[in-house]
């Protein structure tokens, strides 16, 4: 098993891109990254943790590898940024404003926080 820690970095693009070489070598891989604040700490009202995705790759024989890419948030911050640039409203459920109120304003969402993905995070994160 090997663990590589990287610091002083920026957005690393798609995690699956970095994992591909690991699967090509017949290894299983897990990639994690933090990001600028986007989601509240459990019970909190301001953005604290990043979108902090977790991705993994599992090679198969004679078939494409299984690639798992879990995002904690319903949408990425970049997507909301795009909506803000285009002055489009965002659907309810993507984000809350800085007062913790659900918002359809992309601009308000960028200073607020993103909601957890309902599909992938059916359990709220618990810190023990």
């Amino acid at each position: 098993m090997a663990f590589a820690g990287i610091t002083n970095s920026h957005h690393f693009g798609a995690a699956a891109y970095h994992l591909a070489a690991i699967a090509d070598a017949g290894m299983t891989g897990i990639a994690l990254t933090n990001s600028p604040s986007a989601i509240n700490a459990w019970g909190g009202s301001k953005a604290f943790f990043g979108t902090n995705p977790i991705a993994a790759i599992f090679p198969r024989r004679n078939a494409q590898p299984i690639v798992v890419d879990l995002s904690l948030t319903e949408v990425t911050r970049g997507k909301i940024m795009l909506y803000a640039k285009e002055n489009k409203p965002i659907p309810l459920g993507w984000a809350v404003d800085r007062d913790g109120q659900p918002t359809t304003s992309a601009q308000a969402a960028l200073t607020g926080s993103l909601t957890l993905s309902y599909r992938r995070c059916w359990k709220a994160p618990r810190w023990h």
């Binding site: 098993m1 090997a2 663990f3 590589a4 820690g5 990287i6 610091t7 002083n8 970095s9 920026h10 957005h11 690393f12 699956a16 970095h18 690991i22 017949g26 290894m27 299983t28 891989g29 897990i30 990639a31 994690l32 990254t33 933090n34 990001s35 600028p36 604040s37 986007a38 953005a47 604290f48 943790f49 990043g50 902090n52 995705p53 977790i54 790759i57 599992f58 198969r60 024989r61 078939a63 494409q64 590898p65 299984i66 690639v67 798992v68 890419d69 911050r77 970049g78 940024m81």
Partner: protein, 104 residues
């Protein structure tokens, strides 16, 4: 969990300590963690591959199940045969950025 593995272990900036990705002149200090596990080192590669196929086989007996990564692989194949379409403005911006990095 992600924050601790990517930041506490590496000394990177905590999420709230980073500049936004989208502000000009930003200098985030993001942390990443990469974990690689060799199946040979545990039950052995044969067992690993066999167990994965047992799992996949069982998963796919449920008609609606999509294997994680399947959509991605299809998209890659499609892009390789059909290409992808880029807006002219984006294409030009990419060329410009590529040209800038070549000069370094």
């Amino acid at each position: 969990m992600v924050e601790v593995l990517c930041v506490a272990l590496t000394g990177a900036a905590l999420s709230y300590e980073n500049d936004s990705y989208f502000e000009p002149g930003n200098k985030p200090r993001i942390g990443h963690a990469l974990i690689v596990i060799n199946p040979e080192a545990l039950a052995g590669a044969d067992v690993y591959y066999s167990r994965i196929e047992d799992m996949v086989g069982q998963m796919l007996t449920d008609a609606g199940v999509r294997l994680p990564g399947a959509r991605r692989h299809q998209a890659v194949e499609k892009a390789q045969t059909e290409g992808i379409s880029l807006a002219d403005a984006l294409h030009q911006e990419l060329q410009k950025l590529a040209g800038r990095s070549r000069k370094k």
